[in-house]
Symmetry: C2
Subunit: 398 residues, 2 copies
């Protein structure tokens, strides 16, 4: 039989690709380069640039003054240019194990690193990411362990009048085990969506690794979209490719919390769950912590484990929703039923620290039992990954 020379076809493809890359200014440099000692070099080929900088959470923070006060913002470091028009910056010291985010600044223009295809969107910002392994950060890596399934599926909410998307993690072996599993509902913060925990949150990797190490029970993770006016994450709904925004309607005014039993019902109908309070947990970060607080007290027979991660605590008094009314008596009912775990975690410099302190004081005054976990730093994903990896091992084992 006649055969064409496949290799020549492959060369054509490669050449075409090469032509495109050259034309499109594709970077031939390696960036970031993680050295054996965990120092990291960032590079950009930009012969015509006057100033190139890198900014990211691997750099010491700097204070930023705003009309609302001083804030910690990621630091900035200058790259220097070598003879070939390649700019470089190497961290002066090894970086600690962590998932880091960064972007480059070319003459003041913020760009993603063209040599690094790994990027994650957080609200309206897309940053490049890299991981320094070791310690807890090994939980954030895809390791050679049994992997759970991550699904994006849709449920109908008659209350909200929408088909809505959610992310579900089922543990390795779910499909064929025939067993029933406990369910952990994990909620995102303001401006986030049903993708947040599985992307910047590394939830699937953390659960895969904790379960493989025997540190967490196999469980189903359900990551909802907490913006009650949204079908789905930006770009994944019938609104199309619209610009993401932090200013969304129906986020902390009771709609999401009110409709939540519809999610639980859908999950119990769709998955092999242990459909009772003893086998349900709910936790969330920031706005999601606020949601977890209010959902768990509104439906006191639904969740036996509650986690507030850097939670926004109480609603503004202008916000009128039955969800937020009679808070004191609802908390009383919730704690009278003795949830197995009520877990509060926050970072020392979090702008919500004081509100959490006041809330803990209230719980203390009433004698309501909770566990408290405090970290350094503030309202950042680094802390939320830590909280997830601390909280999940405490679930469904008492």
């Amino acid at each position: 039989m006649k055969r064409m020379m496949l290799f020549s076809a492959l060369m054509l493809i490669a050449a075409l690709s090469f032509a495109q890359q050259a034309l499109w200014g594709g970077a031939q440099v390696m960036s970031p380069e993680i050295h054996d000692d965990n120092t990291v070099t960032f590079r950009l080929r930009a012969p015509k640039a006057v100033k190139v900088q890198v900014t990211g959470d691997f750099l010491p923070t700097q204070k930023i003054k705003t009309p609302y006060g001083e804030f910690d913002a990621p630091g900035v470091a200058d790259l220097t240019e070598n003879r070939e028009g390649v700019w470089e910056y190497t961290t002066p010291a090894p970086l600690a194990p962590e998932l880091y985010s960064y972007t480059l600044l070319v003459d003041g223009l913020k760009i993603n690193d063209p040599a690094n295809v790994y990027m994650i969107r957080d609200v309206a910002s897309v940053t490049n990411v890299f991981i320094i392994g070791g310690g807890r950060a090994d939980l954030y890596k895809v390791n050679n362990v049994p992997h759970g399934t991550v699904s994006k599926l849709w449920y109908n909410s008659p209350t909200l009048g929408l088909n809505r998307r959610l992310t579900v993690y089922t543990p390795a072996g779910y499909e064929t085990s025939g067993k029933r599993y406990p369910v952990f509902y994990l909620l995102h913060g303001m401006g986030g969506d049903e993708n947040a925990w599985s992307e910047l949150g590394r939830a699937a990797q953390i659960m895969d690794n904790l379960i493989a190490q025997g540190k967490a029970k196999p469980m189903i993770l359900v990551m909802t979209n907490g913006n009650a006016a949204q079908e789905a994450a930006p770009g994944e709904s019938s609104l199309g490719y619209v610009a993401p925004t932090m200013n969304l309607p129906k986020t902390m005014e009771g709609s999401f919390e009110t409709h939540f039993p519809e999610v639980v019902k859908f999950i119990d109908k769709t998955y092999r769950t242990k459909a009772n309070k003893q086998n349900r947990a709910i936790a969330g970060l920031s706005m999601g912590g606020f949601h977890a607080l209010h959902i768990s007290k509104q439906y006191p027979d639904m969740f036996n484990y509650v986690g507030l991660f850097s939670a926004a605590i109480m609603p503004d008094k202008e916000v009128i929703s039955p969800i937020y009314q009679e808070m004191e008596s609802k908390l009383k009912t919730q704690f009278a039923k003795q949830p197995t775990l009520y877990w509060i975690a926050i970072g020392k410099t979090d702008f919500l620290y004081k509100a959490n302190e006041e809330y803990r004081k209230l719980l203390d005054e009433k004698g309501y039992k909770y566990e408290y976990f405090e970290t350094g730093e503030g309202h950042i994903w680094k802390n939320w990954r830590i909280y997830l990896s601390e909280f999940a091992p405490k679930l469904f084992n008492r």
Copy 2:
């Protein structure tokens, strides 16, 4: 009960975010802006840039000379600067309905559009995307129709000695219908992976829309990783965040094709499938078309529907694998069993056009029945989305 002012907390978050955006040079411009008449404006705020261009598949192609011959490459257009340091380009004419990809060039440096968070990776290139709706392109949009579930799950391949990741689309209603479904295996091209068809290929949207319109039968779509040495897409395997490359081992040397029955077995064990030839289809683009050709003839009792989309046709004679041997007699066996559909599609300017022409000549000489579908243009995703939306309606209905 004491309440903190939530709104002030929200303002703090917003302010922090604002400070970061300002610091990070976040774009405040709108880009791309799709006007009512389907002209499109691209914008970039870059006061210090000397030259800003846009390149993408919405522009007329240009000829690029390489040592391997002349190729069509995406065109380039210049943006012009206004007084505020904002560069702009508006297409001179409305764009036809399509999913388009583009990047910007700032003084020769290729960057992603900082104002557009929507990007898709294709091998080692990340481009921004936007959709002009209408016509066939409406199939590529998330519409307000029932949505299927997209899952990333892992199977074990004893033959390849790897746990491997795949993407599975189950049609709306799968979870609760109790029914069994036919299965369509859809394979990617060289440098692609298990994410390719669900991202640039818009496979989930195309299937959701075709099924909702009654044009395709509800079916399960299985999108494998055709690089037999890989566990998973770049960034999703235990290799971590390594740079993607076109030069992968074990792609067209028989390993993937040989192991394929393990995938079918896994899917039939894991999902409610109609587990017989009558209810199985296989198709692929480029290298995936090559895989579909060889898998379907190697296992002639497995697939009743075969699709070759811009397929690489025959292996180099240097490649020794039992899969590629006795091709003539295997094709004879396959066609003697009369597959319901053997479908070949290619674009007129595809560099594989001639190879496909020769292959069709061979089929004609032998009197093997196939259907042929020809489009304009070449070896591009635009064509593959068209082929999927033409092929899927032909499945499981004869």
